[in-house]
Amino acid sequence: MAGYAVEIDDVTVRFRSKKRDVTALTDVTMRVEPGEFVSIVGPSGCGKSTLLKLASGLLPASTGDVRLFGEPVHGPRKDIGYVFQKAALLEWRSARKNILLQAEMRKLPPKEAAARADELIEMTGLSGFEDALPHELSGGMQQRVALCRALLHRPPVLLMDEPFGALDALTREQMNVELRRIWQETGTTVLLVTHSIAEAVYLSDQVVMISARPGTVAGVVDVNLPVERDYGPTMAEPEFAKATRHIRDHLGAAAAAE
């Protein structure tokens, strides 16, 4: 077994349709160690969602190789948890049943799954809304249901596509702290796509910057913050300011060049 949880090797992704060809990603190489938390930032449409779909095997690479724990990825992988950019909930299922879909599809033991679901509901502050249908939940709550669903089976790799985009600033901070804690407890490898530079720096060991179309890795920032990160103090650290400034400059420069 090779050393990397996720390996993306010189990958290009092209979308061909009748009207036009779009090169979403080109020459992308990236390696994620097991247990690492890596964020992906970049302008809208640069191929961040595409990158996650690539890693999960939902989308084939036009050229190049993708490996998960050393195994080449051909076709959808089930050893992952995926949080889509839209919540993608089944509207006829209650919040709890949506979370448990994961267990039903994987045929997990119902009792354990139910206990785990309760734990996650509690943790994400959805208590009291277990029986609500998706259309009765706010956008942020729907997204939290999707997060619970992705965590239910304790996946070795968690792929998250702007999971907190629909949350208000305060809830978002709480969720960040929560996610950091979940990550520390579970030792899961996380790939997180986000538009928030602060979120990326606070959460990650590494931030990968993607340039505008065709997307390619514009740089990688190592975040040298301590493992224990209290929200307020971390924000005040000089290293935090340095990392965010670096990323902002980089993305800003890329935007200016466009």
């Binding site: 939902l58 959808p76 839209k86 029986d131």
Partner: protein, 293 residues
Amino acid sequence: MVTHTQSARTGQRERAGEASGVAERGRPGIGQRLGGFLERSWRPFALLAALFVAWWGVTAAELVEPYLVPSPGDTFDAIAARPEYFWEHTWTTTYETILGFVIAIAVGVVAAVAMVQSSTLEKTLYPLLLFAQVIPKIAIAPLFVVWLGFGLGPKILVAVLMAFFPVVISMVTGLKSVDPEMLQLSSTMGAKSGQTFWKIRFPASLPHLFSGLKVAATMAVTGAVVGEFVGANAGLGFVILQANGNLDTPVLFAGLLIMSLLGVLLFVIVEWLEQLLLPWHASRRDEGASTTL
């Protein structure tokens, strides 16, 4: 506009329901649902009553000859004079309609599922379906009588043929309208295609199916009566034809009245089933509807 009001309303409900919990709001009891249904459907009933009064007014004022348009009283007298006769023929038509409708649903749903699974099958079947739909049923009904005789067979067959098309089309649309990300999610869960079908695709297609079923329900009644027109010794179509031959307009009107009631009743049953089986869909639609009114 609508979404704005709707969200405001949801907000209100959320605040109001905080203490009581969400579950109660989500699933009203059958009684409550029936009450809601009556509340929503009094308008059409009022309109029907108005039409009825107009009918009565026209005949009472003798604006038209009674042998052309009989009064409501004469029409009901015609029914009251021979209740068993009407009951028997109504039952025959009801039987044909329901059997035709049920067969159309079964065949239609299976065909739709097959067509969605295989695009070759879809390409092969679609033209055939279209052909079966555009051919005038009244024109082929005599042929069915030749093939199947004067019994129930040809009537049910015409009912099936008429009801089948909306079922297939709506089900195919429904099965195809599933959010592709939902299917991707399902594959990251390692779901088998059977699981994906029963847990995601099929339930997601039901709202579409039900809108097709509402059309199909009324088509099935028409189909059964058309079947009866071309050769029958029972059923409402037969009653209407016979009354026409005798210039017995009260019986003719009675037949028409019962026939329309049958269609409406079937439609209402389908609608009610939809509310019962798809409360998640109905409650969403109701919200939209009540804010637009």
